[in-house]
């Protein structure tokens, strides 16, 4: 019964989305206020219907209703309840429902938190979001309905959730990622609405900005979680594989990062308007492209889900309508976006533009690398693009980005005295060089790339500390009073930039100083990495809820002092027969110790054991979290808190 209710309410959501994409827009065109007014209630109805669908699917999982095909394929009666619920997004159909539900949620939120935005603008924005929703709901209902039944002969038990996905990290990773993907639809909707209105004033950027920041923060956390999950769950100890699916999430992040900065310029200076609109369109289009790449089966990947060319064709068609439509609109309407003000070549605008170009180049590099296999296939060439290509471009681009970030933060809007800027930058350089030199020698000497990267990361941090001190002093009321006067948005920027520095430092450390050992070990054997000793004590077997496990006991000691006992496992899942490696990790601020059991050798008397020493790897994710926290800080800035209560006094004046 629950499945039927869920199915019905999906159709209801489609009806609401159709109304939402038509009526408010007609209302704007014909200037009928009543129709414009309907935008918000329609968005809320749509979201309620989608929420009901989610609850119904969750309930079907909860009661193990294996007559629902999706539940039968992705759950099992022995699966713990938490994983049964997270199995909602463990497969294709349910992921789409989650996508749609979040899109509905963002639309409902925009409806609820936009009292300061003119009604016509809200109507346009929600209409555009409604159109996107129509596409997704049609996709779901026509090709991938999660509520399809397998009747009359349904399986007695389910096929189980993919063991790779039975993990706490994976309970929250997809929702975070999708919140980011879908969140960029708001900026996209604002951009298209602005193009439709033919009026992109700074107010437009001010409305779109907080939504973009939230989406970006979610996406940042989502990508970090994905990387963290790959690290401990895949058992290879890597944290980024330049896999098509990972790239699919990085692409909108890069474009979104550029968008955040470009929006700032548009809001403050009413410049880069065409550029900002274009970035908003690109960021969301790349989110859709990511979905296409993951779902269509055009590219094989380590963690591609069920692939289906028919579904791929639908998403591609949808992508063409959304991105093609928006870009056409952009080409036709962008003549209204000419800038009438300029800026000097040495100014914050100039540096932000430079950084934007770098970010966009990085986006392009990743995009080309990701879809190149398709291109080579079309030419019948067998060439594989792997990490040397990506690293070869990406690392220097990141370095260049950091080099430009510092003057960007130091400079004034409009024009900046070049000599003052050079002086400020030069003053910090020796400190960064010296500290970087020592820092990069701490574990053991690094190659010059590593030294340079650590210097740049430290330079970035020093520059922000210097900037905070100067700005706090500039209030002239003492340092600590000044500190408190600095806005949350400013702190957000400092935090996000320092997060990047922490991440770069972590990547550098782990890239140049990790130690990996693949060795054969039996109980009683000993292996060492540096001053760490690993003793393989014993093996035992135990039964999990839906798997059997062989577990090793490893005693780890540092300079003879016991550190930790690690328990790597090899699990065999009952329903699918899949064998999974569960790595055991001793996580630490400075280093991770990582033990994974590979294959049994000599009838299980010995094992191929992988032992890794990973310095600084935590910093990669810590840095990402600091970055995302910066986004949250920026969002809690005074002006957004005030905005919510400023009850549309501009409504009359800004009406187009």
């Amino acid at each position: 019964m629950a499945a039927e209710i869920g199915h019905l309410s999906l159709w209801l959501a489609l009806a609401a989305a159709l109304c939402l994409s038509v009526f408010p827009l007609v209302g704007v065109q014909r200037n009928i206020l009543a129709l414009q007014w309907y935008a918000r209630p329609l968005a809320w109805v749509q979201w309620l219907a989608l929420t009901l669908s989610m609850v119904c699917l969750g309930y079907s999982f909860f009661i193990n209703d294996f007559s629902v095909a999706y539940v039968a394929n992705h759950s099992n009666s022995a699966l713990p309840v938490a994983y049964r619920l997270s199995a909602i997004w463990g497969g294709h159909e349910g992921s789409l429902l989650l996508w749609g539900w979040m899109l509905g949620g963002w639309a409902a939120m925009v409806g609820g938190l936009s009292r300061s935005v003119p009604l016509a603008m809200v109507a346009r924005v929600l209409s555009v979001m409604g159109m996107i929703s129509v596409g997704f709901l049609l996709f779901m209902l026509l090709t991938s309905n999660p509520f399809d039944r397998v009747l009359p002969w349904f399986p007695l038990d389910g096929a189980d959730l993919n063991p790779l996905l039975q993990d706490p990290g994976l309970i929250i990773h997809p929702p975070m990622l999708y919140m980011g993907y879908v969140g960029f639809s708001v900026a996209f909707a604002f951009a298209v609405a602005g193009l439709l209105a033919g009026n992109l004033d700074p107010a437009w950027a001010r409305w779109a900005r907080p939504w973009t920041t939230v989406a970006w923060s979610f996406l940042t956390v989502g990508i970090a979680l994905g990387s963290w999950w790959a690290y401990y769950e895949l058992g290879w100890g890597g944290w980024w594989f330049w896999d098509p699916v990972e790239n699919a999430s990085l692409l909108p992040w890069l474009a979104g990062t550029a968008l955040i900065h470009s929006l700032a310029v548009t809001e403050k200076r009413n410049l880069f308007r065409a550029w900002t609109v274009l970035l908003a369109i690109i960021a969301f289009s790349l989110s859709l492209l990511g979905t296409f790449l993951v779902r269509s089966g055009v590219l094989t990947s380590v963690h591609a889900f069920a692939n289906d060319p028919e579904r791929g064709a639908f998403i591609l068609g949808f992508l063409i309508v959304v991105a093609g439509g928006a870009l056409t609109l952009f080409a036709v309407r962008s003549s209204t976006l000419t800038n009438n003000k300029g800026f000097k070549p040495v100014s914050r605008e100039a540096f932000l533009l430079g950084n934007n170009l770098i970010l966009l180049t990085a986006t392009f590099v990743v995009l080309v690398g990701t879809i190149a296999p398709l291109f080579f296939e079309a030419l019948d060439l067998k060439i594989s693009i792997r990490s040397p290509y990506f690293n070869g471009f990406f690392v220097p681009l990141t370095m260049a980005l950091i080099v430009l970030m510092v003057p960007g933060v130091f400079s004034n809007w409009k024009r900046q005295d070049g000599r003052v800027l050079v002086k400020r930058m030069a003053m910090l350089a020796p400190a960064a060089v010296i500290a970087g030199w020592f820092g990069s020698r701490l574990p053991e000497p690094s190659p010059w790339q590593g030294v340079l990267a650590i210097m740049l990361a430290l330079y970035l941090v020093f520059a922000h500390v210097d900037d905070v001190v100067r700005r706090a002093r500039a209030y002239g009321q003492g340092f600590f009073t000044g500190l408190r006067k600095l806005g949350r948005a400013y702190w957000g920027m400092v935090s996000a930039h320092c997060g990047l520095a922490v991440m770069v430092a972590g990547i550098t450390l782990v890239s140049f100083h990790e130690v990996e050992r693949d060795i054969r070990m039996g109980p009683g054997d000993r292996a060492s990495i540096g001053e760490y000793d690993f003793v393989f004590d014993s093996l035992d077997n135990y039964q999990g809820p839906n798997f059997d496990s062989t577990r090793g006991h490893f005693q780890v000691s540092y300079q003879g002092e016991p550190v930790v006992i690690l328990h790597p496992e090899k699990r065999t899942y009952h329903a699918s027969g899949q064998i999974m490696t569960e790595a055991a990790i001793d996580a630490g601020f400075w280093r991770d110790l990582y033990v994974a059991m590979g294959e049994p050798l000599d009838d299980g008397n010995a094992w191929a054991v992988r032992i890794y020493f990973k310095p600084g790897i935590r910093w990669i994710w810590l840095g990402s979290l600091i970055m995302a926290f910066g986004g949250v800080l920026a969002l809690s800035d005074k002006r957004y808190r005030r905005l919510r209560f400023a009850n549309g006094e501009k409504e009359a004046t800004n009406e187009s």
Binding site: L278, G297, V298, T300, L374, I579, E599
Partner: protein
């Protein structure tokens, strides 16, 4: 950006090119064999055997239903797939191995360590046979009938589910009551 500058169409043009490329990739599902090879005999070859001194040819793959599994020691998914191959072999399924673009010593060591599910292993060090077969990467598994013709190709790891869904129906259709 100046009014009506032709540059504003650049993003659109770029996107159209991208869409064409993506559309061209859609028809080409990497999980499916180009239909040209289904029903055709295995391309002729004459390559050394990994475990013995004999030379293997396309005739070595005739005479019974068997799988041809493309594997290599550099392929992480092959490690994941391996236990299932062993299980199939234990159930009496004949599996020929194609050691693809690999070095023979580590390959022999790999089979010694992890168990050998293969009746025989073809050494395709330069990947020529793989190229003729249209192999995209490892692992891939072909189903070959007693006449030495390719019946099915599966790209990606072979597991219980794939076996049940793709291979068993074909085997049952061709030899009722056969290996399942």
């Amino acid at each position: 950006m100046k009014a009506n500058s032709p540059w504003v169409f650049l993003p659109l043009v770029g996107f159209v090119l991208l869409a064409v490329l993506l559309a061209s990739g859609l028809g080409r599902d990497p999980q499916e064999l180009p239909s040209a090879l289904v029903g055709k005999p295995v391309p002729s070859f004459s390559l050394p055997s990994l475990m013995t001194d004999e030379t293997l040819t396309q005739d070595s793959l005739k005479g019974r239903w068997q799988l041809l599994n493309v594997w290599a020691t550099w392929c992480p998914t092959c490690y994941i797939e391996h236990p299932f191959l062993l299980e199939l072999a234990a159930r009496g399924v004949a599996i020929a191995g194609l050691n693809y673009k690999d070095e023979s010593d580590p390959a022999r060591q790999y089979l010694a360590e992890h168990g050998n599910p293969f009746t025989h292993v073809i050494v395709d060090a330069d990947g020529q046979l793989g190229l003729d077969l249209g192999v995209y990467g490892a692992p891939e598994t072909f189903l070959i009938n007693p006449d030495g013709e390719i019946v099915l190709r599966h790209a990606g790891d072979l597991n219980a589910r794939v076996w049940k869904e793709k291979f068993v129906p074909l085997l049952e259709q061709n030899q009722p009551g056969g290996e399942a």
